[in-house]
């Protein structure tokens, strides 16, 4: 690899190598404020490489590699090298991490307690977390939340927030332009623009917090709150966890503990403002 960088997001130390300079420069800009520890060994390796040596110049196309490879990962044009790097980082964590139970969920914290939002792509969990993270919450992460099997604590994974489509305009109107990455238009996931988390979120990324509320948001429809039983929350979180099966009994114990100790609700909301209002209401009434 001709170009490379190291990035620490929460407990994960990434080593990223690339055949091209541009994606590494873009990553270094997004992650400039993150703590650097070059002496620490890498937990996950991501490689962005040219399919054939001559393709590096002729018709640049980025392939994603690393410790784990999804065979049908599509090559992306070089203009989307940053997206390829992000996808590679997510993939290595989702498939390789074993120290914590990994939930495909966003999370924010306030007063040492965490609100965890789990939902499918399009549920608005990332946008809600990003918006809350601009208020008096600490953004823990927009994509992954880690649960420590030893004590049940939630750990942050505050990678640069991946804003998609309508969320881009919504956030761009609120934050300093210096915190936004380049617009990646027309990616397989639509338009994407990265948002650098606030400095306080990055500074506090190693502080574990106690899960206090689990929400399962659904974007669209009238505002609605539905209490969720422990069993349903358990089923949904096994589906939202990328390493539940790999963790064996430790994952089973961590998840039963999480759903027993944390109140859970499904929420529907028609727009971000009502979503935020619902979140604040439930937090005030039900968070443990």
């Amino acid at each position: 690899m001709r170009h490379g960088t190291r990035i620490a997001v929460g407990p994960v130390q990434f080593r990223i190598g690339s055949d091209w300079a541009a994606p590494i420069a873009a990553l270094n800009r997004l992650y400039a404020a993150y703590p650097q520890d070059d002496a620490r060994p890498a937990d996950a390796t991501v490689r962005l490489f040219a399919a054939r040596p001559w393709r590096r110049v002729l018709r640049p196309s980025v392939h994603i590699g690393g410790d784990f490879v999804v065979p049908d990962a599509l090559p992306l044009p070089l203009s989307m090298g940053l997206l390829a790097a992000e996808m590679g980082m997510n993939l290595q964590v989702a498939l390789g991490w074993r120290r914590h139970m990994l939930l495909h969920a966003s999370a924010v914290a306030r007063g040492g307690r965490a609100l965890i939002l789990s939902g499918e792509s399009g549920s608005g969990k990332s946008t809600l977390a990003a918006l809350l993270g601009e208020g008096d919450w600490r953004l823990m992460g927009d994509e992954f939340t880690l649960i420590d099997p030893a004590d049940g604590a939630a750990l942050a994974f505050p990678r640069a927030v991946s804003l998609k489509n309508a969320a881009i305009g919504e956030m761009a109107a609120r934050v300093d332009a210096a915190r936004l990455g380049p617009l990646l238009a027309g990616t397989p996931k639509g338009d994407i623009r990265h948002l650098i988390p606030r400095a306080d979120a990055i500074a506090a990324m190693h502080e574990p917090v106690r899960p206090a509320l689990l929400l399962f948001p659904r974007f669209g429809g009238a505002a609605e709150i539905e209490p969720m039983g422990e069993g349903e929350a358990f089923v949904r979180l096994t589906e939202a966890s990328t390493n539940y099966v790999a963790l064996g009994e430790a994952g089973f114990a961590a998840l039963t503990r999480l759903v027993r100790e944390t109140p859970a609700f499904g929420i529907s909301y028609p727009d971000s403002a009502s979503g935020i209002a619902l979140v604040e209401q439930i937090w005030a009434e039900a968070a443990r």
Binding site: G229, E230, G231, E232, F234, V235, T238, Y244, V245, G248, E249, F252, A253, T256, V259, R260
Partner: protein
């Protein structure tokens, strides 16, 4: 069909956690998680260490609960036992 006896998985093989209306059972031998509802956890608990037939279990159930239409109880318990066997939580003795 003969009422074949079944034996429950050894207690140390299973970790059973009630989660509201569902019960999550982790099988340490297969590393699989099973989610079941009543009367599966009750049946497993009632079987203990010794092989049991559906008739024995139905009789034990009848001692503890008011069973309506007792005639069906043996057939229903036999069905549930077959389902538990498919999950690997009980086996033919």
């Amino acid at each position: 069909m003969a009422d074949a006896p079944y034996r429950a998985a050894p207690a140390e093989a299973l970790r059973i956690e009630a989660l509201g209306e569902l019960t999550a059972i982790f099988d340490r031998r297969s590393m699989q998680t099973h989610l079941v509802v009543a009367p599966m956890p009750e049946l497993l608990a009632m079987m203990g260490e010794t092989p049991c037939t559906a008739a024995t279990l139905a009789a034990r159930l009848a001692e503890r609960f008011d069973l309506e239409g007792e005639g069906d109880a043996v057939a229903i318990v036999a069905e549930r036992l077959a389902e538990l066997a498919a999950l690997g939580l009980v086996a033919r003795a």
